[in-house]
Symmetry: C2
Subunit: 159 residues, 2 copies
DNA sequence: AGCGATTATATCGCACAAGATATAATCGCT
DNA sequence: AGCGATTATATCTTGTGCGATATAATCGCT
């Protein structure tokens, strides 16, 4: 016979929005992106485009696949995004002469110049956020660990 | 004259993808949503739709604005999402008789029934994730705090 | 060399997101 | 009562995201 039905983990309760891990992740991601937006639109960039540029600022040129692995985005998202960056004159897209399947993405002069213009963004974001730096670091560490876990786990699920 | 230019926080370095807080947030949010997907598509739901349903399972009916405040989504996102849920017979949309500007969203019988069908999802996600529960709790707490901070802060920036 | 399997991008369709703007109903003040 | 301001949704446009599929180039094996 069922006895201690009184106390928690009853399944209905677990469906409360406030109990979810995913929701604050999802909401915080969108809100933080919104705070980036006014800083980025000065240069005509969206947040995902900024991610791609950060990858290219570290190493250029990069193949589409390399960018996808780093940003965790597939070609169906990257192709149009990269075409927009190309139209803005920020990057070039060139087929690799050695392997014609590969499209190499390289920064233009303008794209390189954007790096120094964007250099103030991380600091400015930190100021605008005004979130306790210690907590931000703790959060980032946990998130990085969680992301590593998810990446390792994702391959399980694709199998 | 500039002297100690050698050591860190030089601005260029801060643009490294690995230094960013937003990127793991953004990436983890998308990866986690992907893990939800196979569980949700059994019931023809997307993750944002599931969020809205969790809100309605706690309290029905709700106005569009109430849902928007809870889910942090605006009408331009909610209106089409809610219309799709209506077409699926999960919710109804009715103008409030007292105030015709307000559209009240209520669960249908089917929508209510989905709650018990979805009851297993939180537990199943936890199992599938296999992420250290203590770390998950710590992460959620930090995220909740960060989200509260962002919400409070967002209003500053909208001003 | 020949050809099926693999790989790298691209395309298509659908569903968010969010700013800007439109529309209609209600409120508040005189 | 009248009317400008506010409020609640809806619509339009642009830009992601992502599953499914298409296409073209390369690889691997015989």
């Amino acid at each position: 016979m069922k006895v201690a039905l009184a106390t928690p983990p009853d399944t209905a309760t677990l469906l409360d929005l406030d109990k979810q891990l995913c929701f604050p992740l999802y909401a915080a991601s969108r809100l933080l992106t919104r705070i980036y937006q006014p800083l980025l639109e000065r240069y005509g960039l969206t947040y995902p485009q900024y991610i791609v540029l950060m990858i290219l600022w570290e190493k250029t040129p990069c193949s589409v696949t390399e960018i996808g692995e780093r940003a965790l985005l597939n070609s169906n998202t990257l192709t149009p995004l990269l075409k927009r960056l190309e139209q803005q004159g920020v990057i070039t897209r060139t087929r690799d002469s050695g392997d014609e399947r590969v499209v190499m993405i390289a920064l233009t002069e303008h794209g390189r110049a954007l790096k120094s213009k964007c250099a103030c963004i991380p600091t400015e974001m930190q100021q605008r956020l005004g979130f306790d730096p210690d907590k931000a670091i703790a959060l980032k560490q946990l998130l990085d660990e969680f992301l590593r876990h998810l990446r390792a786990h994702a391959s399980d699920h694709l199998a």
